[in-house]
């Protein structure tokens, strides 16, 4: 017997929401005249895509950015929406280690793929045994540490935020029980928690998504040969 973890439901809900959102945006973008002045949502989307695209092009080449930018954008969007799930009283999917491990593993596979492509098969195999053969162990450990640090950073930050919020809710709940008449209604938390939600969910979530994006781009760019 295995039980279903509660985060699975929020993963499904968030995936559906993102898919629906992208469908709506796609509809809207198809109707836009490409020669007209962009405004509103279209302008916002264009700015975001251009910002990420510029960053990817700076670190890698123009050719790679064509394939890398969509991946980076979709992962960042997913992480951001998953991190702010606490605002909609869902359990954040990124507080489940399997989710962050998969996201980090995807990035690590991409790092290896681009490294192999840039160097060619022979040099890529050789790069595992550098500077000489016994160092293969250290190289494996350093690749594993990338995976561990990428996944655990996201997981630890979001999990600790979620645990802290639930502890604060319990504490404020026991305080507001002292108020006569309406003790069962958690009145104190209404006054205190919005600021904390702003920090732990919105700010920390956006920050972690941004850091994951920057690190993915930089780690992939590090493996490519310098052309300038």
């Amino acid at each position: 017997m295995f039980e279903i973890q509660t985060t699975v439901y929020s993963i499904i809900i968030i995936t559906l929401v993102i898919v629906a959102l992208l469908f709506v945006i796609n509809r809207k973008l198809k109707n836009v005249d490409p020669l007209s002045q962009p405004k509103g949502l279209v302008l916002l989307l264009m700015t975001a895509v251009q910002m990420v695209d510029k960053q990817v092009k700076e670190k890698t080449s123009d050719e790679i950015s064509k394939y890398l930018t969509p991946y980076i954008l979709s992962v960042t969007l997913y992480i951001f929406v998953a991190n702010i799930a606490g605002l909609f009283s869902l359990e954040a999917p990124t507080s489940n280690y399997s989710v962050t491990l998969i996201l980090a593993a995807l990035t690590c596979v991409l790092i290896e793929v681009y490294s192999a492509r840039a160097r060619g098969a022979k040099k890529y195999v050789k790069s595992w045994f550098e500077p000489f053969a016994p160092f293969v162990l250290l190289n494996i450990i350093s690749k594993l540490s990338t995976l561990l640090s990428l996944s655990l950073r996201l997981f630890g930050n979001i999990l600790s935020g979620g645990i802290l919020m639930s502890v604060i809710y319990q504490m404020l709940g026991s305080i507001s029980k002292m108020i006569p008449m309406i003790g069962e209604f958690n009145l104190v938390s209404l006054a205190v928690t919005p600021v904390l939600h702003f920090y732990f969910d919105l700010f920390s979530g956006a920050m972690q998504a941004f850091i994951f994006m920057t690190l993915s781009i930089s780690f992939i760019g590090k493996e490519l040969p310098e052309e300038q």
Partner: protein
């Protein structure tokens, strides 16, 4: 008694975070200083600072991992 000891061990593990926090603050200070000196290189300095902070954060993340292992595997 044993549970209290395990909790104490986990708390000691996470204590490594205080030095990491201090030093990552130093990374941010230096990044801001060098952007002030040379604003043209801001994007390069920014990515370097984030990578440096991320790699030195690995140490604190290992400590977090050890604390998780103590709590969830030894304490379960």
């Amino acid at each position: 008694m044993e549970k209290a000891l395990l909790g104490f061990a986990a708390a000691l593990c996470v204590m490594a975070g205080c030095i990491t926090g201090l030093m990552e603050g130093k990374v941010a200070i230096k990044a801001v200083e060098s952007i002030g000196k040379n604003p043209d290189a801001a994007s390069k300095i920014q990515s370097m600072a984030i990578i440096g902070a991320a790699i030195s954060e690995t140490c604190a993340i290992y400590c977090l991992l050890v604390a998780f292992l103590i709590i969830f595997i030894l304490g379960a």
